[in-house]
């Protein structure tokens, strides 16, 4: 089977460096030769706007990606406001919900 897919602007999909030399077997994407020019092209193409940017600002995205650490900080610092038992209860509910839904 031949997979005809382009790997441009994927951070140099076939640009295996030292840390990538172990990908076993054949590649799903063609092993194209990447010149310096194509690397520059990859860097430029990174700036192409992604659809998510229309909906979420980069700040909101940072908060979204840091959702779990922020939740942890709220649980820990929340103890000052609502005490340790509420924090423990919320933690148990959050774990149960995560295991069921995520």
């Amino acid at each position: 089977m031949i997979y005809v897919l382009c790997c441009q602007h994927l951070g140099g999909a076939s640009q295996y460096g030292r840390r990538n030399q172990f990908s076993p077997g054949h590649s799903l994407l063609p092993d194209t030769a990447h010149s310096k020019k194509s690397v520059e092209s990859v860097e430029k193409r990174r700036n192409i706007k992604r659809p998510t940017r229309g909906f979420l600002s980069s700040t909101a995205l940072i908060f979204g990606r840091s959702f779990f650490p922020l939740f942890a900080v709220a649980i820990i610092l929340g103890v000052i406001v609502w005490g340790p038992w509420i924090s423990l209860a919320v933690t148990v509910v959050a774990i149960a919900a995560t295991l069921r839904l995520l």
Binding site: M1, Y3, L5, C6, C7, H9, L10, G11, G12, A13, S14, Q15, Y16, G17, R19, N20, F22, S23, P24, G25, H26, S27, L28, L29, E43, K44, R46, N47, K49, L61, I62, G64, R65, S66, F67, F68, P69, L70, F71, A72, V73, I75, I76, L77, V79, I80, G83, P84, W85, S87, L88, V90, T91, I95, T98, L99, R100, L101, L102
Partner: protein
């Protein structure tokens, strides 16, 4: 100034320090994790502020804090540092090396050891007999019991394997010793402050991070999978396509894509996934609509629950 030129300029600015503009998110994530530990330590040392002067209230605080700290440490090392081990987030090698060394301390690992396990062992020998980072296999090829792997792997089995691997060559032995020394220097800090606090809010979270977050992640990502061959090129990993899971977990759900192209930046994995979608469907890749956590819940259960994990996402049927 047009929008694209402005974007280019901003990116160029970011690239002076960071390898990729989105790597900013990795540093922020890690910083909040460190802040969470600092908050927990401070409150433990100021019990009246935290209303934890009594033994039971203190125990409740320790359990709640250890669980959430373990949870985020598991992500911070198992996913966030993991991405850094494939694609260092800084353009400076020095900065990447030292940030990495400090990064994994909050997960109970020397960074070099973690990198060795993941890149040199796991990626190089995925699902083969040499991949000792994964669960042991039963005679029928399936993984050992979920709970057994969670409790036996870290740190017990890992220590034995790492000892054998890292003492085999003198150069490796010397480096491993140096990295272990650097790690112990930072990791021991909470013990100097308060040994009891260190056990409750440092060691316990690290155990939770490794056993319940990282080990369960490793298990579900490759459970039911087979070694990559020409005949079965896309059945070595499961793909988890839950949007919220991937938003909060640096797109680690696109695991098959990651193993195929470890050098692709984590923020670009959804795009790679879309490009590979026909290949995945055609090759019979296992794709599920949820994330690692629900997969762990299914695989930790009885036979009926485990069978639900085998079900394919409706959008990825042949």
């Amino acid at each position: 100034m047009n929008e694209d030129k402005k974007d280019d300029r901003l990116t160029a600015g970011s690239l002076r320090v960071l390898s990729h503009p989105q790597d900013w998110h990795c540093a922020v994530f890690h910083s909040i994790c460190v802040a969470a530990y600092a908050c927990a330590f401070w409150l433990y040392l100021h019990p009246t502020v935290a209303h934890i002067a009594g033994p039971w209230s203190r125990a409740a605080f320790a359990v709640a804090s250890a669980v959430v700290l373990g949870w985020i440490s598991g992500i911070d090392v198992g996913v966030n540092f993991h991405n850094h081990s494939h694609r260092p987030i800084f353009t400076s090698h020095f900065l990447s090396r030292w940030f990495g060394r400090l990064w994994t301390v909050t997960g109970g690992w020397p960074s070099f050891f973690w990198e060795y396990c993941h890149v040199t062992v796991h990626h190089a020998n995925l699902l083969s007999a040499e991949d000792w980072t994964l669960p042991k296999k039963n005679p029928d090829g399936s993984f050992e019991n979920f709970q057994r792997y969670l409790f036996a792997h870290w740190p017990w089995r890992l220590t034995i394997h790492l000892w054998k691997a890292l003492t085999a060559r003198q150069s490796l032995r010397r480096r491993a010793l140096r990295e272990l020394g650097i790690f112990l220097m930072f990791w021991s800090i909470p013990f100097w402050i308060d040994p009891k606090m260190a056990l409750l809010l440092w060691v316990l979270p690290h155990w939770i991070a490794n056993a319940f977050v990282m080990n369960s992640g490793m298990y579900v990502q490759h459970s039911g999978c087979v070694e990559k061959t020409i005949v079965e090129p896309v059945r070595h990993s499961t793909v988890f396509v839950s949007k919220f899971f991937n938003l909060t977990m640096f797109n680690i759900g696109f695991h098959l894509e990651h193993h195929e192209y470890p050098r692709v930046h984590w923020s670009e994995l959804p795009e790679l996934h879309q490009r590979l979608k026909p290949v995945l469907v055609d090759g019979g890749a296992h794709v599920v609509p949820y994330g690692n956590y629900h997969a762990a819940y299914l695989l930790a259960g009885d036979d009926d629950r485990q069978k639900r994990f085998d079900e394919q996402d409706a959008r990825y049927h042949k």
